[in-house]
Symmetry: D2
Subunit: 377 residues, 4 copies
């Protein structure tokens, strides 16, 4: 530190800086923001030390102060929803899309051209294969050319690419929990990649904030059910990520049975992952060896916490926090490895991961604005 | 029917009868009854047309009217808890034990000798292997000789034996949901019995009604977690049942990975069961063939409901009802069959199944007192 | 029917009978039935020994088997929703309307003319004053002439009139809990009728089963709020009932502050009622005297349970049951009497009370089909 | 510290400072800390920029890392519970007691003598009257002499005294919500102080984290009940505070009927407060005038938010946040004013208010470490 620039230097301790050591405030816009990922993004950005929350758009709510819709933001967010305006958006450094699937792809190309960095929290840019996208999302992709450029925003895999990206596809909630849980096994070729099972349980907020009988309290409280067993849009996204992990190491593609379930709670995903070890007698797949493998794989990851051996992570231990907690089991010494992976679907599974991507993208400290502790109880 | 006994004959339509067509009221006692299976048993028995609820014991609550502890029973149950008394119990036709594990085995032999039929809702007589019992329950069995005589009270498997039994081991909640879900596949040798996975989710009432930090609302609400992944007492019970199903048909023993989870709700178990088909191209394992297989297997079962193809049963659809609802899937045409099986852990998973066993045992209509409809919402 | 058929005669012991001692099955139709009062009505009627559930209408769901929408009814209700048909409805003995407010009044006159007894679970006929109705429900009444004839179906007040009625206005949920709680005080002129407070808490099912952001699980779980403080439609209904209770005994009208609250649960209303005693030193308003007063007032009421002195009734003690439980307090010996009154909003607050009214109307046992015990836990 | 260290001076912009403008880290100890107020205190203090969390004691858990008991603190709190040690505690600047009632009063005098500032989150020092304390808490007070010195830590009333205090009695949860809701009315003599009603609803965490059947999920979920209607320990505390507010302005004492209820949720208190205006025609008690009164009374309070006229604050809008939100109603233009007041019982009702008191006591910014936004959903 140079003593003649005390203010700037010290400010850097708590604020972000660009590559030249000069403090910057990132000017941020949000498109869509009346859903649960939207309000969560607002909560995180309003408390982020390096962010200037410039605008948030909503056609239907234009004019309404954000804090009127979400009174928890009273005193923290004082802007109102506005009608989307291309020029205003183009003046931002970063624009988040917290819109339903299929919306972002209509406006992203123009923003990218204007030099704005875009982080899409929806699914528009998550799949690389145009046809697969069309098949699962039920319409042709509007800007297929950007699919290959978009960086899949899982920092634990793609940090370097995220740093350079113009367009980030923020991962889905299930895919985040499942990939972080399975990656170390697959990257090291330890399990049968054709017989993977992901039994996942999600809180109801994963279904969004739209008027819908199926997610009324009286339809979902005090009940538990699987859904989408024949096929769910997160299946190809997870497989794409896992296939990348085994590429060049193992032949063939992963085979995954993915069963999502709806759990009567507000926030949280619990992925219970089953894989069969390739060589049950190998020293690499003892429970202790697997524990070490995971601890090493995630040693430098600020937002992945490998729990002590024997743990059973609770979703509440990540409620409101940008963290994935993982535990490794090999029950009864059998051939099956069981990985437990929990996240808050709205944080590490959506808005928190989006902010993490923004931090990386903008050269801020990766943890900036993301150090909130989970609320227990 | 003889026309000169109109009253008796007609009464039989609504009441039970013994083998001679004469109406009987079954005199019932309950040992222990201050827990959730206890109060549920009381709810069912109080409304049962053929039952005379004679006594209920609780050392700690002796003297307390039952309806004072459980005000929902006001106007329906007017007896008080009493200190256990051998003579009083011996005067009953049937005695239910709704006690913690390890209690029933102390008193059952004496009752059996006195000619009382016993239904144990705890785990004392569920395992056939004495050593296995001792290993999982942490103490030697007090009357190992009765283990072989005790009939495992899963009517869908053992109805004939139940009818003749003196002692019934009422199945555990998870074992009921898992066995009913997997039996048709295993009985017909359609899947790899060494690679079974049961990912099960239970409501909190499964943990009982004892003062315990771990099941406080503030520890379990708004959270989801796995528990007992290294080993759970229901694992050997499930394996014992499944091994019986494959005995004589398949070599070896079943291999099962069983992971129970705690779900923030009062009642309900959802078992998500995964099995790998032996021959993926066989006409016997198409989704349609499996649907037919299950429908036929359970066609005459009053308390197993095979849902239409493509269904996702909700636990609330069985809340308070003595029924197991099952759906069959083979997602993406892959090798993995996914069975969804839901019960109310306190009814088909405990008290309801116990009453069903009593009905069979006493020659009553199997459905007597068990036709209540699930409470939705 | 002839006397040499003992079956019939004896069956009457357990079935209903008309005034001539001859068994009758009541042919029942339901208009609207896709909401929570609808499914609850179906649950109760399907198990009712004297009811033939002939038809249920729903324009939007015509053709859909009822049990497909509500799988808890599988095996119990095998009819499908049909388009409303005047002739079919006219062939019923009793028709229930479980429709939104404003629907029943369009079709009731025609049905009444056809000799059908009508029980409206909505608010169309609850208020006697046409202008008041129009003011609170926002449209002119379509058949104001029937308002005076309609009998307000609170059996504890109007049993005799219900017996003779052609048209029953089934009370609202809050009004049932509040009136049953306050009536003994007001009927006996013991409290200041101008300073009544009803602080009421309702489960979310009271808001109905329509697609609505405000009643999503993620909007209502883990939160508590008041609503409608400036004015709620149940206010005039409650006041009308209480004014009737004081008519001829006390001058003036009741003054009531009614504050409803939304509680994160499925079922249940808890009314906490505050009244100021007129004469604090009177022997009539000691806590013991009030206890006796309530016990005597409701001694012959099958569905009102005055709890022992000092009780705090839980809503779960009435979950699924047609009962109102009441406790009386006079805290710290002060001037304020506190009455606690709980019901299941869908049973004694809606469908159960409707069945109770049907029973009275049809000369059946008042408790027929209504003896279900509350589900705890 | 010396002026040629710019780092320190600039850091003061964002950190606290004592009266001399020099940065200080407050060394903090916690006695007891295994309950819900304890873990919440840890969450807040771990993120507080001016606090050095030095020690936390628990006899029963000594040696256990705090983050092992509360995994949400992993990565944020790395100390372990220790056996209480007088010298270690005496080395702290501030000691919080998060112990059961009756514990703090045993050790506080010694700590005070050692110059430590004490903030007691239990009830030991909340009442000024020794006899009243003994009556409600069932034992004689162990250091009655300190009762008069202790400052009741409601900053909105006692900020100046808190600044100078050695011992702070942190208010109860209900008393915080009720007093903040009623104070403006009483301070201005606008309502009948002898006819106050506080109908309060609390989440289950208010009952603490001890093994107890009554607060199991299966006893409290899906149910709602009043409790303690005959008398609750928060009654004298509230009355004491309100009596102080009217002292010198109005004759006599307040008369309050206080009814607490248990609500099936984790966090939150909703107080619904009823008061009768003294002069219904006065311009001071129009709804608009009352709105203005409240806004002015709390204009400079960072942690009291007067909502817009017509609002119905939800408890979730304060979940995890140190804020009390208040709405004012005068329904139907009647004589009754209805005030709605919500807090998070663990934050503004306990740990957050304790930190606020610490901030004031230590000359830090009152809002330091307390700017977290409520978690919605």
């Amino acid at each position: 530190m140079e003593k003649d620039y005390p203010f700037v230097v010290i400010a850097l301790i708590i604020r972000g800086s660009n590559d030249y050591g000069v403090e910057v405030m990132v000017k941020v816009g949000i498109v869509g923001g009346t859903g649960y990922t939207g309000v969560e993004l607002l909560r995180l950005l309003a408390a982020h030390p390096d962010v200037d929350l410039a605008l948030i758009t909503s056609r239907s709510e234009a004019g309404l102060p954000v804090a009127e819709m979400f009174p928890n933001l009273r005193g923290h967010v004082d802007i109102a929803f506005t009608v989307p305006d291309a020029a205003a958006l183009a003046s931002c450094d970063v624009v988040f899309f917290a819109t339903p699937n299929g919306v972002a792809m209509q406006s992203v190309p123009e923003l990218i051209d204007a030099g704005v960095k875009v982080i899409d929290l929806a699914a528009d840019f998550r799949l690389k294969d145009t046809e697969e996208w069309a098949q699962w999302y039920g319409e042709p992709h509007a800007c297929a050319g950007l699919l290959s450029e978009a960086v899949y925003g899982l920092p634990e895999v793609n940090r370097a690419a995220i740093r350079e990206a113009r367009l980030i596809a923020n991962p889905g909630c299930y895919p985040t929990a499942v990939q972080l849980g399975l990656l170390p096994l697959l990257e090291n070729g330890l399990v049968d990649h054709q017989r993977l099972i992901a039994d996942c349980k999600s809180a109801v907020s994963g279904a969004g904030r739209k008027a819908n009988v199926g997610t009324l309290l009286c339809e979902t409280s005090e009940s538990f059910k699987a859904y989408g067993v024949p096929g769910h849009r997160h299946l190809p996204e997870i497989c794409q990520g896992l296939n990348t992990a085994i590429a060049g190491k193992t032949e063939g593609k992963v085979g995954l049975t993915f069963v999502p379930h709806l759990t009567p709670m507000l926030r949280g995903i619990h992925a219970t992952l089953y894989a069969t070890v390739n060589d049950a007698s190998s020293a690499k797949v003892t429970q202790a060896a697997l524990q070490t493998l995971y601890e090493e794989r995630y040693a430098n990851e600020p937002f992945v916490d490998v729990m002590p051996a024997g743990s059973h992570p609770e979703t509440r231990s990540v409620k409101g926090a940008n963290i994935c907690r993982i535990a490794i089991h090999r029950p009864q010494g059998g051939d099956t490895v069981v990985i437990l992976s929990v996240i808050d679907n709205l944080v590490k599974g959506a808005a928190g991961q989006a902010v993490q991507n923004m931090n990386i993208l903008c050269g801020l400290a990766e943890t900036a604005g993301l150090s909130g502790i989970a609320l227990v109880p």
